[in-house]
Structure formats: structure tokens, C-alpha cells
């Protein structure tokens, strides 16, 4: 039973870390960034490069974040900026961009699976259960991500402008908020977070040009259901991720893989606003 609980919490933590970048972009811009999966992949490859250069893990993570943020800023300035009034086109454009990034990664690193040595290996004994140490660390990582970005959003000038843009962009512009700068920074942060999550999953996953894709659908569904705040994203990660683990454990893992998508569809049918303002 404890194992199932640990599986639920650590799976939710992973889902939260991977979805948070997508959520931040969606929250501010009302745009779903389908290149998110590609930025996850970019982060994992940044980790690979960092590991090959012999950087310590504590430097590899910022490297991944910065690489993702730079890619994100360029994407915003070159592609996404022109598509704010055309959200459907933005989905197409970012999906296409994801394919392009995947191919560029393939050209540079080859198609094959790469390996990054995990910084933490082995298991820890938690109340009599032997559990993967790295997955436990992921819970801490999710909490740190949540705290840092809640503080950023609620405790800084940038956060204030961002929230103003979210609530009423016209009014914010009227009050002198440079909304295009806010968007550039937000997109960069969201992409940086995606890359950071890519770095964080490398010890549990293989590194290959398509590694981000399996996560994209779950992340997309969670963001749709959570409706825009990090708090509700945490709630939906726990609930839907938990259901996924329960179905996988007690029914079968193939149905488990469908759980998030099906539950999200049901939730949105009953409550179009998802868990927001619940």
C-alpha cells in the first residue's frame, strides 16, 4: 500500500515538473506550446553535453534551463509573437517547430539512444519499503519548482506585470506594462522549465530525439484540466497521475496509459473550467 502511495506521489511530481513549463506559457499567452516536448528533449541533450564535459550535476541543471530558455526566447521572437491572435495557427506552428527541433537534434547527435549516468543511484528505506532514491528526490524537485515559480509570480515586479497581463492585457498596456516583453520572458521561462524537466528525467529515461513526445499528451491534458494556476496543476497531477498509477497497478498498465487523457476529457465535459476556481 505504501508503495502505491509512493508511486502516486512520485508520478505526480514528475508530471508536475514536466507540465509546469507548458502551464506557465498557457496561463499568460493562452497558447499551447506543442514544441514543449522538443524543449524537454533539448534539456535532456543539454544534460548529455554537460555530463560529457564532466560538469557536476548542480551545474548541469542550470545549463539545461538556460539552453531551453534561449531556444524559447528565439522561438517567441521569431515565430510565436506573430500568432497571438491566431491560437490555432500557433498550435500548428509550434508542432512543426517541434518536428524541426527533433530533426536538428538527430542531425547533431544521431538517432540512437544516449545514456546519462544518474547522479543518485540505488534505493532508500522508507518505513520498511525499499524505494528508488531518485524518484524520492523528484518530490523535492517538484516542491522547489512550485515554490520558486509561485514566489516569482506573486512576489516580484515581473510577476505583478505578468498577472496584470493575464487578467486584462489592454488595461495592463494602458497602465504602461510592456506586454510583449512580459510574453517574451514568460515564454523563455516556460521553455527553460521544459528543458529543466528534460534534464531531471534523464536518469529514469533514455535520451533520444523523440523522448519528450510520450509526455506531451499527459502534460497537455493536465494543463487543460488545471486551467491556469500552479496550485491547480499540482492538484490535477496528483489526482490524474494517482488514477493512472491505480489503474496501472490494479487493472493493467496499458489502460493506465490512457487514464489521464480519458479522465481529463470527462472532467472538461462536466466542468469546462477544470479544477480552476474549484
Amino acid at each position: 500500500m505504501l508503495t502505491v502511495a509512493l508511486d502516486i506521489v512520485t508520478t505526480a511530481a514528475l508530471l508536475f515538473i514536466i507540465s509546469s513549463g507548458l502551464l506557465i506559457v498557457f496561463g499568460v499567452m493562452k497558447i499551447i506550446n506543442f514544441a514543449h516536448a522538443a524543449f524537454v528533449t533539448v534539456g535532456a541533450y543539454a544534460t548529455l553535453v554537460g555530463a560529457r564535459l564532466g560538469l557536476p550535476w548542480i551545474l548541469v541543471l542550470p545549463l539545461a534551463f538556460v539552453t531551453g530558455a534561449i531556444c524559447g526566447a528565439l522561438t517567441e521572437a521569431i515565430i510565436v509573437r506573430w500568432l497571438y491572435r491566431r491560437p490555432l495557427d500557433a498550435i500548428l506552428a509550434t508542432w512543426g517547430l517541434g518536428i524541426v527541433i527533433g530533426q536538428i537534434v538527430t542531425l547533431i547527435f544521431g538517432r540512437e539512444v544516449q545514456f546519462v549516468q544518474a547522479p543518485i543511484t540505488g534505493t532508500v528505506d522508507l518505513l520498511g519499503v525499499d524505494y528508488s532514491a531518485y524518484r524520492i528526490v523528484m518530490i523535492g524537485a517538484a516542491v522547489i519548482v512550485a515554490l520558486v515559480f509561485t514566489t516569482l509570480l506573486n512576489g516580484t515586479r515581473l510577476g505583478l506585470s505578468t498577472r496584470a497581463v493575464i487578467m486584462n492585457e489592454m488595461l495592463a498596456q494602458g497602465l504602461g506594462v510592456d506586454s510583449s516583453r512580459v510574453r517574451l520572458i514568460t515564454f523563455a521561462i516556460g521553455s527553460g522549465l521544459a528543458a529543466l524537466s528534460g534534464a531531471l528525467i534523464t536518469p529514469l529515461s533514455s535520451v533520444d530525439p523523440n523522448m519528450g513526445l510520450p509526455w506531451l499528451i499527459s502534460a497537455f491534458m493536465l494543463v487543460m484540466v488545471s486551467g491556469g494556476s500552479l496550485m491547480t496543476l499540482a492538484v490535477s497531477s496528483l489526482m490524474l497521475g494517482g488514477l493512472q498509477v491505480i489503474v496501472s497497478t490494479f487493472v493493467n498498465p496499458i489502460l493506465g496509459g490512457l487514464t489521464i487523457a480519458i479522465c481529463a476529457a470527462i472532467v472538461l465535459r462536466i466542468r469546462p473550467e477544470g479544477f480552476a476556481r474549484a
Binding site: T11, A118, D130, P203, L204, M211, G256
Partner: protein, 383 residues
């Protein structure tokens, strides 16, 4: 005037006809350059290139040179349809020789039948694929599973097995055979779980494994990414049971490093086979590819032998005519790195199997060999 034009064109046709006789023999290689098989595909292509180079250097086949047409099947059914279609109907290849996923093979077979093109399949697979155009020179479950299960039963005193696979034809086929074999030899299967091919989080399955009280694990995932994620997550969860992996090859094991150590594999080829033919093959491979050499493995060496089997069959048949070549393929034998291979058992081949264990430096140590294991009745004639 008209008759002169006719004569000229007739002369042209005759000229092109004689040019055709010296045309190269085209070998189509549909292979998973992208997707799940992308880890192993480059080694398969290298094997084919070496075989073709060697044969061409000695004058080709029936005086004709061999050429290779490699097409990416994206490791799946949709990609395979495009790749087979292009190779069979546009490039008009004389034969297909390749290692592919089962999904890709199954998607390609109807196209092969329409084009009446011989197809030598060089990948181990779940067995019982019986197209009249298909020959297989790699192992089937009847050849691969018994060495591992017998060894676990006898040396590890295993009685409770847990089976984990990817949800596709090969994964399910291998494990359903494994289950039957474990039960036949007196063991018990305490769990059998699958994850979709693109799944990357094995956590709930690993938790079930730990709760099941199993004393041995046998896995059959898609090669490449799923195999890597499962092994990494098993190790991260501290699982140290005897672990037989039906889908790992030496190259992948080597790049996985410490995580792969201890895994048992059963294969018809390992680089450590101590025979002159294998040493000659390995030397030729490293001479041709140098630093770019992908470690030859159980999926790439049959490709090399497949090209030689086709050469022998064409020489025996005296032409590249599909029906004659197909008839000859069951009669010729090839002396290759894996020994003498003859696809005479219902279009499958008896093989010598090796049980190996991955060492901490990534090399595979042969623990036991099982000579001339029979593939069993793969395609019994319908009567």
C-alpha cells in the same frame, strides 16, 4: 519512314535489353533508421555493406554486381508500407534482406506478395510468420527462451517468474511462449505485464514485481529506448533478481554501462564466438568501418549471412527469377560467423544458441552453448 523509325526503336530496345543483363542485382533493405530500431539499424546496414563489397570484389553474382537500396521503415507499420512500396514497385529490387520490427514485417508482407519478391528476414522474432516469399535465418522463441529458463531453473533454483514486455507482436509473442515453457518445466508465472511501445514510466509494474515475490525476471521489450528505460528503472528500484532480457544486444548492453551488468542474454551471435569465420568477419568489419564501426550483433550478423544466402541461392538457381530463388533458398547453406546456416526447416534455420551474461565492462561472457537448436514446426504444411 515509319518502318525506319520502327527499326531504330527496335534496335534501341535490343540495346537496352542487353544492357539489362549486366545491370546490377538490387537488394532492398527496409530497416528502422528512425524509431525504436534506430539503435541497431546502423549496424545492420554496415553488415549488408560489407557483404555486398566482399561479393562485388570477387566478381559479383552471375557476373552481376550487387547494389544496396536502404529505406527507412520508421520501425513501424505505416513507415514499412511506404518503404516496401518504394523498394518493390519503384526501385524494383530483386530481393529484400532485412532486420525489422514485427509490425513492420507484417505490414510489408502483403506488398512482398504482390510484387512476388523474395524476402529474407534477418531479425529474431516471435515466430510463425509463414508467407511463401519469406525466409528467416534468425531465431524464434523455441530457440531462444529454453537456454535462459533452463539455466534459471537449474542454476538459480528459480520457480516464480515475472514477465515484462512492450505491448506489440514480438513482446507478447515471446512472453506467451516463455510462459508456456516456464509452466511446462515446472515453474510458475506470478505476473505478466505490458506497457505500450512508447511508454517510458515502468513504475507501477516494478512495484508489482517487487510485491509479487518473484525470484526471476524475463523481459521482452522493443529494442532501444523501452529496453533502456526499463533496465534503468529496475536498477534504480534496487531490483537484483536474476534478469533474463530477450531483447538486449551486446551493443546496447555496452552503452548502458553499469546498469546492464548481470543481465542474462540468449543469442545466436555474440562477438566472442571463437571461430575462424567470426574472427575473419570481425577483422573485415573493423578494417572497413574503423572508428565508425557499430558493434556487430545478433541482429546485424544474420543480415551479412542473409546476403550470402541470397548469393548462393541465385547461383544455384542460375537466375534472379523469384520462384527459382525461393526454391533454392531452402537448399543452400552459408558458412558465416554464426556457423553453418541452412534455412531448411519450413523456411527457418536450426541455430547454435549461446547463453551469455553481461559483465560490468559491457562485454558478454558466454556461459554455455547449445548446438543446433531446432526452430520447431514454424510453418507446418497445411494438408
Amino acid at each position: 519512314m515509319i518502318s525506319r523509325a520502327l527499326l531504330v526503336s527496335l534496335a534501341l530496345v535490343a540495346a537496352s535489353g542487353s544492357a539489362l543483363a549486366a545491370d546490377p542485382i538490387k537488394i532492398g533493405v527496409p530497416v528502422g533508421l528512425s524509431g525504436a530500431n534506430s539503435v541497431v539499424a546502423p549496424s545492420v546496414v554496415q553488415s549488408a555493406e560489407l557483404a555486398v563489397d566482399e561479393i562485388n570484389a570477387k566478381g559479383g553474382v552471375l557476373g552481376r554486381q550487387l547494389t544496396l537500396d536502404v529505406a527507412d521503415d520508421a520501425s513501424g507499420a505505416a513507415g514499412a508500407q511506404k518503404a516496401f512500396d518504394a523498394l518493390v514497385f519503384q526501385k524494383k529490387v530483386n530481393v529484400l534482406i532485412s532486420m525489422e520490427t514485427s509490425a513492420a514485417r507484417n505490414a510489408g508482407l502483403p506488398i512482398v506478395a504482390r510484387g512476388k519478391t523474395p524476402f529474407i528476414y534477418t531479425s529474431f522474432y516471435e515466430g510463425r510468420s509463414c508467407s511463401p516469399y519469406l525466409y528467416v535465418n534468425a531465431w524464434v522463441p523455441e530457440q531462444q527462451v529454453p537456454p535462459i529458463v533452463d539455466y534459471f531453473n537449474k542454476e538459480k533454483k528459480a520457480t516464480k517468474y515475472f514477465l515484462i514486455g512492450s505491448d506489440y507482436a514480438f513482446g507478447r509473442g515471446m512472453l506467451s511462449f516463455t510462459k508456456a515453457y516456464v509452466e511446462k518445466t515446472g515453474g510458475k508465472v506470478v505476473g505478466e505485464e505490458y506497457l505500450p511501445m512508447d511508454g517510458s514510466d515502468w513504475t507501477p509494474i516494478i512495484s508489482k514485481l517487487k510485491a509479487s515475490g518473484a525470484d526471476a525476471i524475463i523481459t521482452s521489450t522493443a529494442g532501444g529506448a523501452p529496453n533502456v528505460t526499463l533496465t534503468k528503472q529496475l536498477r534504480a528500484a534496487g531490483v537484483s533478481l536474476p534478469y533474463g532480457n530477450l531483447a538486449v544486444d551486446e551493443g546496447t548492453a555496452k552503452s548502458m554501462g553499469a546498469d546492464a551488468a548481470g543481465i542474462y542474454i540468449s543469442a545466436s551471435y555474440v562477438t566472442g564466438i571463437d571461430s575462424p569465420a567470426n574472427k575473419k568477419f570481425l577483422a573485415a568489419m573493423s578494417k572497413k568501418f574503423g572508428a565508425d564501426l557499430k558493434t556487430p550483433n545478433d541482429l546485424s550478423v544474420p543480415e551479412y549471412e542473409g546476403v550470402y544466402a541470397y548469393k548462393a541461392a541465385v547461383e544455384k538457381a542460375g537466375s534472379t527469377d523469384s520462384q527459382k530463388v525461393l526454391a533454392a533458398l531452402s537448399e543452400v547453406s552459408v558458412e558465416g560467423p554464426r556457423g553453418t546456416i541452412r534455412m531448411d526447416k519450413q523456411r527457418h534455420a536450426p541455430l547454435t544458441m549461446y547463453l551469455g551474461q553481461v559483465q560490468s565492462d559491457g562485454s558478454v561472457k558466454v556461459i554455455q552453448s547449445f548446438p543446433n537448436v531446432d526452430p520447431g514446426a514454424q510453418c507446418p504444411p497445411k494438408s
